[in-house]
């Protein structure tokens, strides 16, 4: 193993690098620090404040977004981990005209203060993309990382069940 040779080819990201990624289908190239949190980039550089910050340690889900279709906590994802990838935030959901999840939340009282709602809806999106007719167990597992302090989850469960029943 040639250690010296290896040294030359390792890429290094320090301070600012140009992050190139898609947000809600739009390409962005932004100078950011490699370790900057995705949630801060979205809120402060892309000016999309629908994604919220609450715990900052991936324990509440308020910052949930889809990264290449996978649910992640934007407070735990660093800039270099997003390079070349595609992010879907709450603002990008439903822009194709399909607002089923949002409609279900509206009609079933799936939110009150609304601060967890962006993340919660993204988690529901990840769930119903994978399992269109989720069981109680599926719902519990899929939404276990998203805390809501207002609803007691009743309205959220009804919203998901409404989606499953197809009458959003």
């Amino acid at each position: 193993m040639d250690l010296n040779k290896a040294d030359h080819v390792v890429s290094k990201m320090k301070e600012e690098f140009t992050l190139s990624f898609l947000v809600n289908g739009q390409k962005h190239e932004l100078p950011v620090q490699a370790s900057a949190r995705l949630v801060d980039i979205l809120r402060e550089k892309v000016h999309l404040t629908g994604t919220k910050v609450s715990c900052g340690i991936g324990r509440c889900g308020a910052c949930s977004v889809l990264l290449d279709g996978q649910l992640v906590n934007a407070c735990l994802v660093m800039a270099y981990q997003v390079n070349g990838k595609s992010v879907l935030t709450i603002e990008g959901l439903g822009t194709d005209g399909n607002r089923n999840i949002q409609e279900a939340f509206l009609h079933e009282g799936g939110f009150q203060c609304g601060y967890c709602t962006s993340g919660m809806i993204m988690a529901v999106k990840a769930l119903v993309d994978a399992v269109p007719n989720p069981t109680e167990e599926d719902i519990k597992e899929a939404l276990s990382g998203n805390l809501c302090r207002c609803t007691g989850y009743g309205g959220i469960i009804r919203a998901v069940q409404r989606l499953a029943n197809g009458n959003a």
């Binding site: 404040t49 900052g56 324990r59 509440c60 939340f105 203060c113 609304g114 302090r149 309205g155």
Partner: protein
């Protein structure tokens, strides 16, 4: 999940679309050109003298605009809703870890943090009073000039000691309740924007904009009219944002720098500085006759109010008032103490002392029932208040049969549950149990407290029916309540309506968005305003169109002639017509309904709630899971079905957390739980999918007070109901919350429920 109130109207809440699309700007989402970021330096010790504060190194850091301390407070360096005893910045002493020493405004948050680390504070540590017992010791150091007792509240009736002598059974128990965190998802924060004329606009969540304005005026030494508070929307509050939090720091930083300043707590900062629910130690001695008539009730409450007063006195008064709940007990002796410590500051929290005292009270009733061998529901029936009985402090109250109606509904649910339980076999390693409890809860601030209410109704220049209240939308659904009431009472449609709240420049005085008073006040205000408003409009239109006034009605899109097919004049046309005339506006202001009897803090409008719950106790781990939950609520007509159900379900789960897992634990005056990794609130897997809400809508005959607020009532009965169900499952009474799985496991082992132990 059922609800006996079907969705009567398909309207979605007015703020709904913006919330589900992420478009709604919370006040912590705002940015302004040239904005600075503020951060606050909090104490390093729970109790210490400040020897010196040096800010020079921080000031010299590039990117720092200013560093401020107590020297920079223009006016009174104190705040507090009842007594202003909390320093904005400490001068010479810190009394808890959340005490502020200095604040920085910088070009970025990162620089602000760096600057905080450069502020040099020399402390001289003092002994930490981390328990009210220590604070009450004779030789305890005084935390405040007046000593360590913030407030003492008492209520006496009859002769308790004599009555105990005659009792067949007396039950005595001490109950301990933890410090609960509001855990609103949006932490405290906002932006303060200064103007060239010296005025400021404060964009920061609070439950009472005018109160913030009043408090800030004292701190800033500014007339109130130079301060505008924009206080809505909020990502949750639950009582926690009623007191000032970041506003004074942001305001001073903005005034000194002349630039907008954003301050937004991280979760950890929020935990350190923010309010919590009062931990209480409650001893109750309750005696009954052989037939189950409760005759004597002695109560001692010690509340840990933390370092400063905020609403501590009122919370204690509320607990004292509700110590006998919906039961008529002839001999009563209640004494409560609210005690200063070096722990986190306790203050307003949904339920307001009612949760703690009702846990103890309902625990007593259930223990008494067991001791007497009487069915707990029957025991309640024997002692429950009648509709026209006086209130718990002997004051006259608005008659209500809610207590008994709730009890009977809960009884029916319990019987059903027990039937169901018999048929469902339980796993070998689990035991199921059913429990119930009742709660009675006063709305409004109570006798002797300024409880101003009011609103404004107008046809504005855009042709909208504009209704304004000095309330805030914390998430509770106030906007939907306003919309539903106005549409029903005035007759206009959703599109004709403009709701204005949460901005001191635009709204009338309505009082605080607290104490389950919002719905009541909106309904009562509209009752007062609708006639004069309708008359004014009809009169004007009658003049303009020469149609008799009594043939005009307000409807969708405008005024209609009776039996007309279209509006004869739209609101827009009317607004055009009166462009130059006097505006069509009516106001109301009144005092929240109070008892005529001079009992300080005594309430007049009460709501009633009951819970039936099923739990499953895991014999291997001692863990308790709520598997079924029913609420019955008597609070008058339901205004907004989704909102009502959401308040009850959400309040219930918040208290499920309080009962089973939540504790903002402190050791030596320092928080052990600083974020959601250790401070656990219920997740979706912790709640029963079987949750029903049953609303009893009927009011007592001739009741003219309308629908009552339900922000708090759903949080109260659940705790004693769960504890009752645990007892039903394994025969063990819990008196310390949150329920410790360790304690339950010990009880299981003591009862030899596992053969190998």
């Amino acid at each position: 999940m059922k609800f006996n109130i079907s969705e009567r109207e398909g309207r979605v809440r007015p703020d709904g679309m913006a919330k589900v699309t992420g478009d709604l700007k919370y006040l912590t989402d705002l940015t302004f050109p040239n904005m600075l970021h503020g951060k606050i330096l909090r104490s390093s010790y729970p109790h210490a003298n400040i020897v010196s504060i040096k800010t020079e190194r921080a000031e010299q850091l590039p990117g720092v605009a200013v560093v401020i301390t107590h020297k920079d407070v223009p006016g009174m360096n104190r705040f507090g809703i009842i007594f202003p005893d909390q320093p904005v910045f400490c001068e010479d002493k810190v009394r808890y870890m959340g005490d502020a020493i200095a604040a920085v405004a910088a070009e970025s948050e990162a620089i602000a943090y760096e600057a905080l680390a450069l502020i040099e504070v020399v402390y001289e540590e003092l002994p930490v009073i981390d328990d009210p017992k220590k604070a009450l010791a004779k030789d305890a150091p005084k935390l405040h000039p007046s000593g360590n007792i913030l407030h003492r509240a008492t209520f006496k009736n009859g002769d308790v000691s004599k009555a105990f002598d005659d009792c067949f059974t007396v039950v005595e128990e001490t109950y301990e309740l933890p410090r609960q965190m509001h855990a609103y998802l949006e932490t405290e924060g906002g932006v303060i924007v200064p103007k060239e004329d010296g005025s400021i606009t404060v964009y920061a969540g609070t439950q009472h904009g005018f109160k913030d304005r009043f408090q800030l005026a004292r701190i800033l030494a500014k007339p109130e009219h130079e301060i505008r508070i924009i206080s809505s929307p909020m990502g949750g509050s639950f009582g926690g944002k009623d007191e000032l939090n970041i506003q004074p720091y942001g305001a001073i930083l903005a005034l000194v720098t002349g630039r907008p300043v954003k301050v937004h707590h991280t979760r950890k900062e929020s935990v350190w500085a923010g309010l919590k629910r009062h931990p209480m130690r409650i001893t109750m001695k309750t005696g009954a006759s052989k037939t189950g008539k409760i005759v004597a009730h002695e109560v001692r409450i010690i509340a840990d109010t933390g370092a400063y007063a905020t609403l501590g006195p009122a919370v204690l008064d509320f607990a004292v008032e509700h110590a006998s709940g919906p039961y008529i007990i002839p001999n009563i002796d209640i004494e409560g103490l609210s005690v200063f410590t070096n722990n986190g500051v306790s203050g307003e929290f949904r339920g307001f002392g009612g949760n703690q005292i009702t846990f103890a009270l309902e625990g007593q009733i259930n223990r008494l029932a067991e001791a007497l061998g009487i069915d707990p529901i029957e025991l309640r029936r024997k002692n429950i208040r009648k509709a026209t009985d006086k209130g718990p402090l002997g004051q006259r109250i608005a008659p209500s049969n809610g207590a008994l109606e709730v009890l009977e509904s809960i009884n029916a649910l319990c019987m059903k549950q027990k039937e169901k339980q018999k048929q469902e076999p339980c796993s070998k390693w689990k035991r199921k149990g059913t429990g119930m409890a009742l709660a009675m809860h006063g709305g409004g601030l109570g006798f002797g407290r300024l409880d101003s209410a009011g609103g404004r109704l107008a046809l504005n220049h855009e042709g909208k029916i504009e209704i304004a209240f000095g309330f805030e939308e914390c998430g509770q659904g106030l906007l939907a309540v306003i919309e539903n009431i106005v549409i029903k009472e005035i007759g206009c449609s959703q599109n004709d309506l403009k709701i204005v709240i949460g901005d001191t420049a635009l709204v009338p005085v309505s009082g605080s968005s607290t104490a389950s008073r919002g719905t009541s006040i909106v309904w009562q205000s509209v009752q007062r305003m609708k006639e004069p408003f309708t008359q004014k409009i009809c009169k004007r239109v009658s003049q303009l169109l020469s149609i008799p006034e009594n043939e005009l009605i307000l409807g969708e899109n405008g005024l209609w002639r009776v039996n007309g097919k279209h509006p004869c004049m739209t609101y827009k046309q009317l607004a055009q017509e009166m462009k130059d005339g006097s505006p069509l506006v009516v106001y109301t202001n009144f005092h929240f309904p109070t008892t005529p009897d001079a009992v300080i803090g005594g309430h007049y409008l009460y709501t009633f709630g009951g819970v039936k719950v099923e739990v499953e106790v895991d014999l291997l781990t001692g863990k308790v899971k709520v598997t079924d939950l029913d609420h019955v609520i008597a609070a008058g007509p339901v205004i907004s079905p989704n909102g009502y159900r959401g308040q009850i379900e959400g309040g219930g789960v918040m208290s499920l957390g309080y009962t089973l897992m939540e504790e903002a634990k402190m050791e030596g005056g320092r928080y052990v739980t600083e974020n959601f990794d250790t401070y656990l609130i219920p997740g979706i897997a912790d709640i029963p999918f079987h949750t029903n809400v049953q609303a009893i809508e009927a009011l007592y005959k001739d009741d003219s007070h309308g629908p009552r607020g339900v922000g708090e009532i759903g949080t109260i009965a659940i705790t004693p109901a769960i504890v009752n169900a645990i007892h039903d499952a394994i025969g063990h009474w819990v008196q310390h919350l949150p329920v410790s799985s360790e304690e339950i496991l010990e009880a299981i082992e003591v009862r030899r429920m596992l053969e190998w132990t």
